[in-house]
């Protein structure tokens, strides 16, 4: 379904406004750029013009933060239509959403909220992923989210829920290794067991980002360098899955572009040993 994805050894960054002009001027060698789909739902103007220029120079990944896949509300028709037209216009290599919910009864938290890990929620979210895939006529990736609370009535470990959602719906996984690490600390499970529960064939992309500590909790702020623990977990993930397109995200206190490019170099140093030479890109 859909256009081919990215070479498995690709490394890219989340594209954020403070870096727009510099990236177009410097054209750093990046396997792809990823944007938040909703930032380009507007009817016209400068945002879409920027995206056209980036698309002309780089492979693109559209990463949604607002589909609210797991919400008990019906899928938002207007949201789906906006995403569909964006996908049609920009022909991205990857399209992803989050395995979470963010709205109920029409009210939006504009945040990625965790699901209760139950059979009921699993059935629900699988049906919704299928709806989105049918609408877009392509396979999407869904991303595991970081979380700071758990539902007392959850009956399924998170890693089984995530793997099962992908298996039943036929979607791929965007495995956020930082989120696995953050949740393993916040909820007290073994991060390596999580990685071990994921079928390599399901993983279409990996995310890396930095967290910050606040008391007992690790907070997924996307506001720091990738931690040593997460680099180690990433290495273990690549050893299990093989090379996978990898993205570095930074969203709060966005640093100079050079810092992100450093993190990309670090990701490449992990990817290189597992990438077949013929598949290397950028």
């Amino acid at each position: 379904m859909g256009p081919p994805g990215l070479p498995p050894g690709s490394a890219g960054i989340g594209l954020r406004a403070p870096h727009y002009a510099e990236i177009l001027e410097r054209r750093p060698a990046l396997g792809f750029l990823e944007v938040h789909s909703e930032n380009f739902f507007c009817a016209g103007g400068a945002p879409l013009d920027w995206l056209e220029r980036f698309r002309a120079a780089y492979a693109l990944s559209l990463h949604g933060v607002g589909m609210s896949l797991g919400s008990a509300d019906p899928l938002d028709e207007r949201h789906l239509a906006s995403l569909e037209s964006l996908v049609r216009r920009f022909e991205p290599a990857l399209v992803s959403e989050h395995l979470c919910w963010s709205s109920f009864a029409g009210r939006h938290a504009n945040d990625l909220l965790p699901l209760p890990y139950t059979e009921e929620a699993l059935d629900h979210v699988v049906g919704r992923i299928e709806q989105v895939q049918e609408r877009l006529a392509r396979r999407i990736l869904v991303e595991n989210v970081s979380s700071y609370v758990q539902f007392a009535h959850s009956t399924i470990p998170e890693w089984e829920f995530v793997a099962e959602a992908a298996r039943r719906s036929g979607c791929g996984l965007l495995l956020d290794v930082n989120n696995v690490w953050v949740n393993s600390v916040n909820h007290g499970f073994d991060a390596h067991r999580y990685i071990g529960a994921i079928d390599p064939g399901m993983v279409g992309e990996i995310h890396l980002a930095g967290f910050e500590r606040a008391g007992e909790l690790l907070i997924d702020t996307h506001g720091a360098r990738v931690s040593a623990d997460v680099w180690a977990l990433y290495g273990a993930a690549l050893a299990r899955f093989g090379p996978r397109p990898t993205l570095v995200e930074w969203d709060t206190d966005i640093p100079a572009l050079g810092v992100l490019l450093d993190e990309v170099r670090m990701a490449r140093s992990h990817l290189a040993p597992v990438v077949p030479a013929s598949a290397q890109l950028a």
Partner: protein, 248 residues
Amino acid sequence: MTSLARAQEEFLERILDARGTAPSQGIEVYRRNVRASLGGALAAAYPVVRRLVGHAFFDEAAIRYTCSNPSRSADLHDYGGSFGAFLEAYEPARKLAYLPDVARLEWACHESHHAAGAPAFDLAALRRIGVGELGEVRFRLSPATRLTRSSHPIAAIWEANQPPRDGTPARLEGPDHVVVRREKLVVRVERVDAAEWTLLAGFAAGASLDAASAALAPGDAQRVLAASLARFVRDGVVCGFAMPAADA
């Protein structure tokens, strides 16, 4: 209601309730995230208001606003359109009488920035309209055009607070009749006179050229139709026109 729906309803209630102490550190993280998302959206849409009142004052107003105005869209660019109306009733801002209208102007700019583009005005088609029928022409404003007005010098205040300006407005008196338009991709804020503004407001309401000009004083109408209308066409304030459907 399913148990999933019930769990989501309760959870959302807890994290959108920004007052009082959070029941757990985890819930507090979500409350902070929501505040940061919505507050960030307001700060991005209202940079001039934020500069005028200072960051601390703005952040407090933003928290008050977000408590009574939940987000209704997954697209944060849709959030905050009623902030001007909120400021009108916000007691701590009472002395800054111009603030609500400056906010309304900023929202007009925000909408203009994200609006659809428009094709070039078809002048040849307009020339084909007979002189006798010109009064029936209904001019169409561009999707990125917005009209706003105030008894305060909002255009001067807005302009004085664009970086790197120091915030000192060139005029201290209103009223200001303002057209927000987009030139290629850049949003422009322009002060026009009351007659020009009234003509455009007529077009925005769907009035014909005759009906829109009838709202102007005779001397004004002649001047505005002779010079201003051509300028509005040239600058893309107006992007097209329609004729009323022929009677069946």
